[in-house]
């Protein structure tokens, strides 16, 4: 890729991250070891629900090479795992203990921890630990009446309510009412690297370190410090290479706490690596919800009101996110449409399954499916086309910024900018919708099960409020950009380097990006809620601009020139008219050393901090279109064509944006067609290998066409950026359901994700009988 000199924003440059990763020199959690480390193995509950009667660890303790076996009694001083946003009295009773105390509540719950010299020995010892449990009936269905979590506590800790207007009147005045019962199955991120955590206590410095951190190291440091009663000054989290995040990695899990406490108490480094079976029943699940939704519409198909009663299957405990996914679902459900009256009651229910939290596009993957199914149903009810019913309801470009009296992630929903109808037109034109619709109808007439699907959606990104960064130019001319961001594989380093390079006037390859190290910068927001590029890049631009100003000021003295006549190109301060002498940034940094006689009254160092604060999140938006064909013999679905049109405001690196959108879409496809954590009636998980939990392969993912537009830059930040991380996955369940339903003749029979071959075969066979 050729790049105009020093113009890095908008360039599809190769990634800075790649060289170690393609040569086998990466450093993932499993690649990191400390001398004399112990290996931890977690003993997990084989029962979905029961009272612990007795745990016998004597045989395990007696195995040569075993240093310790802990149960809850050994760490009775530790509090349960806390919420990221701090204490919450109402939800507190439902937190997960680090090791199960008197009850086990899901298969896979940590009950004991073995520490041994060798990981094979640790695993041998774990198998010798026996757990006697008096089994209790498990709760499997979150939409069934609540049960008892503990005496006096229901399995419905709270109902997440949002809404505005007068829903009852809307239904009274409606020309038509549409009612659906929709469900999304249990999915999760399932990164290719399982979790790993290494606890290391450096007594010489009195610093406790957690290696293998991800996603939100700074926030997790605060939570862990609270739990351990330690100063944040003596607790540091270190992120190395991370083999995929997707929202589920980097939360505080029991194992993170265990390795830290054991490192302190056993006085040896503690290494823990999860195996895949553990991962599939111990790392956060997500998505599972059932929505009973009703829409009131006028005679023209315009929405008057939505009334939604939904059931959020939280699993066994409330983990670090509290109720955020259910809250988000309520806040974001109306999407890109005008909606005068709205009510959502989200029943937040505990069941005896793996605890749930966020997975890429949490609350939106689910509700985009629900809302777009509803729009298809409205079209069907009123005899309108699916495109027309959406057009009639889309919020107009002139209505921006559009305030909606709802809350998502604690932030009032204000769509900052967007031309939804404009993007819909572009997407329809790109695929040739009308011709495609005729062609699909012709093929259906000829007996094929083939259909066309459409979904329109608004994403959210860039959760604030504030992020900072520090830019340091070394005397050799290299630039260090120190951030509190995190890299989970998305290309964070490259994108931050591009923004820094563009602002400062250097080659992006001269910028080293620091992330995920709590000992390098005091604050950080990590990588979640599609906020890294929005927040950290804008803070980076501010810091780089501050450094630039300082460099120009110093260089003006050295070059005997007016600062306004100077600029920075290719790492050197030069005159704008290109005449005369120049001075490299490294030399400028040299002149700004503390002992430099030329520094004058300036503060030492060619370095500066930069902060960026935003009032609200920023809302990218998209349109997805798909053509799906069902094999009538097997019920298998093949995606013949797929388009993602997404307005990102401003793309820093279009190649990486495309990578995010396509990669996300593949995950969305998994959730739409293949992936589901299933449980039997005793609460036993039956999807605990990658042969049962089916993530898409190269054969399953079609060539996905991507249209990236920059029609509506964000008005929330100077760079105009909106987030890219979750826009690909967000509406895939919606669009695939729409296409598959259309393939069946648009009957509305597709009401559940994933859409399995068994379901489709049953429908088709039923019609043939």
């Amino acid at each position: 890729v050729t790049v105009k000199s020093d113009s890095w924003i908008g360039a599809s440059v190769e990634r800075l991250e790649d060289p170690p990763l393609v040569t086998g020199r990466g450093r993932f959690a499993g690649d990191l070891s400390f001398p004399h480390q112990l290996h931890m193995r977690v003993v997990r509950s084989p029962h979905a629900h029961g009272r612990i009667k007795h745990i016998d660890a004597a045989a395990a303790r007696g195995l040569p090479g075993v240093t310790a076996v802990w149960t809850a009694a050994d760490i009775a001083d530790l509090p349960p795992i806390d919420f990221r946003e701090g204490p919450n009295a109402k939800l507190a009773p439902f937190r997960q203990p680090v090791l199960a105390t008197d009850r086990v509540r899901y298969v896979g719950e940590p009950v004991a921890a073995v520490f041994a010299d060798d990981p094979y020995v640790a695993e041998d010892a774990a198998e010798l630990v026996t757990i006697a449990v008096e089994e209790l009936d498990p709760i499997i269905d979150a939409s069934a009446p609540p049960g008892e979590f503990a005496p006096g506590q229901s399995t419905e800790p709270t109902v997440c309510r949002q809404g505005y207007g007068d829903v009852a009147t809307a239904f009274k005045e409606a020309a038509a009412v549409v009612e659906l019962d929709l469900a999304v199955g249990r999915h999760s991120g399932v990164p290719l690297e399982t979790r790993g955590a290494i606890g290391h206590y450096d007594a010489a410095r009195d610093v406790l370190e957690l290696h293998g951190a991800a996603k939100v190291p700074h926030r997790n440091r605060e939570s862990l410090a609270r739990m351990l009663g330690r100063s944040t000054a003596g607790l540091h989290l270190h992120e190395h290479h991370v083999g995929g995040g997707f929202g589920i990695r980097g939360e505080i899990y029991p194992e993170d706490v265990l390795v830290l406490v054991a490192a302190l108490r056993l006085k040896r480094p503690i290494k823990w690596l999860e195996d895949r079976r553990e991962h599939l029943m111990a790392a956060n699940h997500s998505r599972q919800q059932r929505h009973r939704i009703r829409a009131a519409v006028d005679a023209h198909g315009r929405l008057l009101g939505i009334d939604n009663e939904f059931f959020h299957d939280q699993g066994a405990y409330i983990r670090t996110h509290g109720t955020r996914v259910a809250d988000m679902a309520s806040g974001i459900l109306p999407g890109p449409y005008r909606l005068p009256h709205y009510r959502a009651n989200g029943h937040f229910r505990l069941t005896n399954k793996t605890p749930a939290a966020t997975y890429r596009s949490p609350g939106r993957y689910e509700t985009n499916f629900v809302r777009e199914r509803l729009m298809d149903a409205v079209a069907r009810k009123l005899g309108l086309s699916r495109v027309e019913v959406r057009r009639r309801n889309l919020i107009g470009a002139r209505e921006m910024p559009y305030e909606r009296p709802l809350v998502a992630l604690g932030d009032e929903v204000v769509f900052d900018s967007g031309d939804y109808a404009g993007l819909l037109d572009k997407a329809l034109a790109r695929v040739g919708w009308d011709a495609l619709e005729r062609e699909v109808a012709r093929r259906r007439g000829a007996g094929e099960y083939v259909g066309l699907g459409l979904a329109v959606y608004v994403e959210k990104s860039g959760l604030g409020p504030t992020d900072g960064a520090r830019v340091v130019v070394h005397t050799g001319g290299d630039v260090e950009l120190i951030t509190g961001g995190a890299s989970v594989g998305q290309g964070f380093e490259t994108v931050m380097a591009q923004v820094c390079a563009e602002t400062l006037g250097v080659d992006y390859r001269r910028v080293r990006v620091v992330h995920g190290q709590t000992d390098r910068i005091e604050h950080g927001i990590g990588a979640h809620a599609a906020r890294a590029t929005v927040m950290t890049a804008n803070a980076t631009a501010v810091a780089a601009a501050n450094v630039r100003a300082k460099a120009l000021d110093m260089a003006a003295q050295l070059l005997q020139a007016d600062p306004a006549s100077l600029t920075i190109a290719k790492g050197s301060v030069v005159r704008r008219d290109d005449a005369g002498a120049s001075v490299s940034l490294g030399e400028v940094a040299h002149h700004l050393r503390p002992a430099s006689p030329t520094r004058g009254a300036r503060d030492p160092g060619l370095a500066a901090d930069g902060w960026f604060t935003t009032a609200h999140m920023t809302y990218p938006y998209g349109v997805q279109i798909a053509v799906a064909a069902i094999d009538a013999g097997t019920g298998a679905v093949r995606i013949e064509k797929m388009l993602i049109a997404f307005d990102i405001g401003r793309a820093i690196n279009p190649m990486l944006v495309q990578g995010q959108l396509v990669g996300g879409a593949a995950q969305g496809l998994g959730g739409a067609l293949f992936e589901e954590f299933q449980y039997n009636e005793r609460g036993q998980p039956v999807s605990v290998t990658l042969a049962d939990y089916l993530i898409p392969t190269a054969h399953d993912v079609p060539v996905i066409d991507v249209l990236i537009t920059e029609d509506a830059p964000s008005t929330c930040n100077p760079l105009g950026i909106k987030g890219a991380g979750e826009g690909g996955v967000a509406a895939v369940g919606a669009v695939i359901a729409s296409a598959v339903d259309d393939a069946l003749g648009g009957t509305g029979e597709i009401a559940r994700l994933p859409i399995t071959p068994q379901t489709l075969k049953a429908i088709i066979d039923g019609r043939r009988r």
Binding site: E14, R15, E17, D18, P19, L21, V22, T23, G24, R25, G26, R27, F28, G30, D31, P64, Y120, G189, V190, P191, L192, E193, T194, H241, V242, G243, G244, G245, F246, D275, R276, V488, G489, Q490, G491, M655, L656, Q658, G659, V662, G663, G664, A665, A666, Q667, T689, L690, A691, I695, T697, A698, H699, V701, V703, I704
Partner: protein
């Protein structure tokens, strides 16, 4: 405890004499006994292919083999692809086509593709897709992996 056995693993042309339990998997021996951590462990049940290495030229899942079974055989891992400072065309193509994000599955895909193309340089698109469906990637959606492997196949043929 089970009796340990002395074996020699030959990785990228270098001999590693190691003493292992018979139950020790090849991938654990490559990583922990020989220090070659470029080969990754993704599932330990032979589905994801992250641990793919070449044994006597054939792609093999190193989690499904015991180290003792590889005694005396020639093992190639991702660390052996690069020749001096020159990256293998497959490595270059993966970078150029943005065929990796987190990079965890990448060594497995590199070895799978290199192993197959060295034996059969003329794999057509459908055969390549079949081949690449053997391994899992959770980040990229595969599109760019397929592109990169196609480009590298052409480059490998041109250099051969």
């Amino acid at each position: 405890m089970t009796e340990r056995r002395a074996i020699t693993l030959t990785i990228n042309g270098k001999d590693y004499p190691v003493t292992v339990e018979p139950r020790r998997t090849l991938v654990d021996a490559i990583r922990d006994d020989c220090g070659q951590t470029g080969t990754h462990i993704g599932c330990e049940h032979g589905v994801c292919g992250a641990c793919t290495v070449l044994i006597d030229g054939e792609p093999v899942r190193a989690c499904l083999m015991f180290a003792v079974q590889a005694d005396g055989r020639s093992i190639r891992t991702v660390e052996g692809l690069q020749q001096g400072d020159a990256l293998h065309p497959m490595q270059e193509a993966f970078m150029r086509h943005h065929a990796l994000q987190c990079g965890f599955c990448t060594p497995g895909f590199l070895m799978l593709a290199v192993g197959a193309l060295e034996k059969r340089p003329d794999l057509d698109d459908e055969e390549l897709l079949d081949l690449l469906s053997a391994n899992l990637c959770r980040c990229t959606g595969y599109q760019n992996i397929v592109k990169a492997v196609r480009a590298a196949a052409a480059e490998m043929k041109a250099r051969a």
